[in-house]
């Protein structure tokens, strides 16, 4: 029993081995067609049913290898039967017309070299509908386009440009899904994506003159923020496609094959021009576009400490969000708060459009009229390629009630900010009465009249003084004058004697010397050696009163006596006075 079982197993094993040995090795070359146009492609498959090594493709002379080799291996077991196949696939395009022989390919299978048989391919004229409709790559390349439309590739700095990405496709392709693989970032631009919402297919689109289905995939508005060459990165999409194959279903309709396709577009370089430096207005803050400018007051008459609002408004299209509005310039006594910025800007494909405004709240402190000078707004118009300046009107705010500001001049000397609060400090009415005087008045100061009026009293004084001195005093009582003179002389001579009042001897010595000195000065003679009689005679000769001469001599005698007989009773004071009176009287008589 066991033997039988074992023999059966052996037989079956043997059978199996003989079957496998008996299986025929095949190695064939198959071409998709033997006759093709010059513009068509040829697919060549080298198929073997046993795995081999050292595959050696033919040289493909006369053809160009488009793709391949692609290897495909399939192995299957069906009802205990194994089947195997391995395929090398090439896609070729012919280079020339005529009959081209596809050479043999070689492979080594189980140690034996197998060769395919050569195939003759006939290449004809180019055909109208080339190619293999099964090739998805070819179909998609032909029928799907992604395009980036740039409105202006040479804009000015801050001039808006738009980029629109459009996907074109046509039959027989239908797109089932789109994924964005790579979104461009616009580094040196201020960018805004315009929302598209639902993707709609425009079936009447045209691309290069041919009808296509058109899908606007993305719209972007860009404002270049730098000059020079700026790169826009590409947009890359992954498409899920349905492409009809040449297989047909039961009803003869073509079956669709699914495929993936990656497509990208829009790597572009934008050359941004800088704004011209020439004629650039002073207050230019970078606005580019077409604008209107206005300054609006919400009220122009109000009370002090109420508020009013001034709105600086720019309307138009251009880079509205990208520049600052000019500043307001108002009189110093108005209190101005920081402005409130408002934007109402719509961004469309042709750029930003709308209004921006700065609203200043202003509170006047004092009564009066306040001019709001015209404000100047400059922008660059890229269409006209020139700068334009818009001026607002001069506006005036009338504050009709409230305190008035004090005169600034008074403020300095008094306390700071002295404000007169009384109600009657309105703007004063004109003065109705006047006394007109000539404008050109010669200055009295420094005039000839002034100087003459100044010198006249001085001259007068001098004249009066001189008159008094030389005219009046001569006619005056000369006696009294001479007396004064004599007294002065006596005092002069007797001054040394007067100093010696305390010492009798010294006094008389000085007195005597003084008397002799006096005579010496008056009579021009030396009298110290003269006798008293001689002096007396001399004096009398000079017409001096005899009594006076005697007195003079008496005083000299007195002096001598006092000197030579000290202790004798003499009166220092009496002698001094006597001497001075004698000198005075002699002087008068001489």
């Amino acid at each position: 029993m066991i033997r039988i079982l074992a023999s059966r197993l052996l037989v079956s094993l043997l059978l199996l081995s003989t079957f496998s040995i008996q299986a025929q090795v095949s190695f064939d070359a198959k071409v998709s067609k033997k006759r093709l146009g010059l513009n068509e492609r040829l697919r060549v498959d080298f198929v073997m049913n046993e795995n081999g090594d050292n595959f050696n493709p033919p040289s493909f002379t006369g053809f160009q290898v488009v793709s391949g080799p692609q290897q495909a291996v399939s192995r299957s077991w069906v009802n205990g039967v194994q089947s195997f196949s391995k395929t090398y696939t090439y896609f070729l395009t012919p280079k020339l017309k005529g009959k081209i022989t596809l050479d043999q390919a070689q492979i080594t299978i189980n140690g034996e070299v197998y060769k395919t048989s050569p195939i003759i391919i006939e290449v004809t004229e180019a055909v109208e509908k080339p190619n293999d409709p099964n090739n998805i790559d070819y179909i998609t390349d032909e029928n799907i386009k992604l395009v980036a439309e740039i409105s202006n590739s040479n804009p000015y700095l801050n001039e808006g440009i738009s980029v629109v990405y459009k996907l074109y496709f046509r039959n027989p392709i239908s797109i089932s899904d789109v994924q964005e693989l790579e979104s461009p970032s616009y580094g040196d631009f201020w960018s805004h994506l315009i929302k598209i919402g639902q993707v709609r297919v425009n079936t009447k689109g045209v691309y290069k003159g041919e009808p296509y289905n058109e899908v606007v995939w993305r719209k972007v508005v860009l404002y270049p923020q730098k000059t020079g060459k700026l790169n826009i990165e590409p947009l890359t999409l992954n498409l899920s496609l349905s492409v009809p194959s040449n297989r047909r279903d039961l009803f003869g309709r073509r079956l669709l094959t699914q495929g993936q396709k990656t497509i990208s577009a829009g790597r572009r370089v934008i050359n941004v021009k800088s704004l011209p430096k020439k004629n650039q207005p002073a207050g230019f803050t970078g606005a580019v576009g077409q604008f209107d400018f206005d300054v609006i007051l919400d009220k122009d008459a109000l009370k002090a400490t109420e508020s009013f609002q001034t709105t600086l408004k720019v309307r138009g299209n251009g880079n509205l969000k990208l520049f600052n509005l000019p500043k307001i310039n108002v009189p110093n006594t108005l209190e101005v708060y920081e402005p409130e910025h408002k934007e109402n800007v719509k961004i469309k494909l042709k750029g930003m459009e709308g209004t921006i405004e700065d609203t200043y709240t202003i509170v006047p402190q004092y009564k009066g009229k306040y001019p709001i000078p015209s404000i100047q707004f400059s922008y660059f118009d890229p269409k006209a390629k020139s700068y334009k300046t818009v001026r607002s009107q001069d506006l005036l705010v009338d504050v009709f009630d409230g305190p008035i500001a004090a005169d600034s001049q008074k403020e300095i000397t008094n306390a700071p900010k002295q404000i007169i609060q009384t109600a009657d400090n309105t703007f004063r009415f004109i003065l109705l009465n006047t006394k007109l005087s000539p404008i050109k008045t010669a200055s009295f100061w420094n005039s000839t009249l002034f100087w003459s009026l100044l010198t006249f009293p001085v001259v007068l004084l001098l004249v009066v003084y001189l008159l008094k001195r030389f005219v009046l005093e001569r006619t005056e009582d000369s006696g009294s004058k001479k007396q004064r003179e004599a007294q002065r002389l006596a005092r002069k001579y007797l001054s040394s004697a007067k100093k010696a009042f305390h010492d009798q001897a010294l006094f008389y010595e000085a007195l005597e010397r003084a008397l002799h000195n006096y005579l010496k000065a008056k009579l021009k003679i030396e009298t110290t050696e003269l006798s008293k009689d001689k002096i007396e005679r001399l004096l009398i000769d000079k017409k001096v009163n005899q009594q006076t001469a005697l007195n003079f001599v008496a005083v000299i005698e007195n002096c001598e006596r006092a000197r030579y007989a000290p202790g004798s009773s003499v009166s220092i004071k009496g002698d001094y006075e006597k001497a001075s009176s004698i000198i005075a009287s002699i002087d008068r008589q001489l």
């Binding site: 310039n329 400090n425 009293p457």
Partner: protein, 262 residues
């Protein structure tokens, strides 16, 4: 020859008289009449007309503080900041203490764009200013003359008086007069110096930059607007050096300003 010269001179004088006569006849208006006409126009609200009447009065070589004041008011009503401030300043020069002028001038000052805080004066400068502004220069010169005359009279009296007490008394009085004369002379002199050396003006340029140097290589220091009172210091070609009330100095180019002096 001499006769000829004389006759020519007489003739020109005569022609001159006739001319003046004709002018007055053709204008048919005295300055006072023009002033009154201006007032009427102002009251009717025709400020442009009022300005032209007042200007005519000025052109006739006549002025007064009320005239300048009314001109300032008219320009204020016409919203002309710089002109208004200019004439108010002129009015203040002639009549510094008039309250009406000060108040309306403050109104006009409100309209200017620049807020300039004046540097406070020292106590001494204030006293000096108050003494100087007691009288006008002409009055000060008259006071100077008065003191010199008094001095002379008193000194002569001293010369002729006999009594020692009276003599002493008059001598002291004369010394006092001399001192007062010297000081009033000095005050008049410095007022005159001040008037000649300081020249104020009102800026008429809408907006002007103040440079650190009289060339464009310097820096812009600040910006002034019309109606600001400036003091003119020096000038070089089209540049003027100015000082403003807060003490800042700088150069302005091709500025429009009107001096307050003439």
């Amino acid at each position: 020859m001499i006769f000829n010269l004389f006759s020519r001179r007489f003739r020109s004088l005569f022609v001159g008289f006739i001319m003046i006569h004709f002018l007055t006849v053709s204008a048919q208006n005295s300055p006072e009449k023009l002033f009154k006409d201006g007032n009427t126009a102002y009251n009717e609200g025709d400020f442009t007309k009022a300005v032209s009447f007042y200007k005519q009065t000025l052109e006739m070589g006549q002025h007064s503080a009320p005239l300048y004041f009314n001109l300032g008011n008219s320009y204020y009503r016409l919203n002309n900041v710089a002109e208004s401030i200019y004439y108010f300043e002129k009015a203040k020069q002639l009549d510094p203490d008039n309250a009406d002028i000060r108040i309306n001038s403050a109104f006009a000052q409100n309209m200017t764009l620049d807020a300039i805080e004046a540097i406070p004066k020292s106590q001494l400068a204030q006293i000096q200013q108050s003494v100087f502004s007691l009288f006008s220069l002409a009055t000060w010169s008259r006071i100077t003359l008065l003191w010199i005359c008094l001095f002379v009279v008193v000194f002569i009296a001293y010369l002729f008086l006999k009594t020692t007490e009276w003599k002493r008394f008059f001598f002291f009085i004369s010394l006092l007069c001399l001192f007062l004369f010297v000081s009033s002379f000095a005050i008049s002199f410095s007022i005159n110096q001040q008037q000649e050396n300081t020249q104020f003006a009102i800026l008429f340029s809408n907006k002007i930059d103040i440079w650190s140097e009289p060339n464009q290589r310097g820096e812009i220091q600040f910006t002034l607007h019309e109606g600001t009172k400036i003091q003119l210091l020096e000038s070089l070609d089209e540049w003027n050096k100015i000082r403003i009330a807060n003490g800042s100095e700088g150069w302005i180019k091709n500025a429009e300003f009107r001096s307050l002096k003439d």
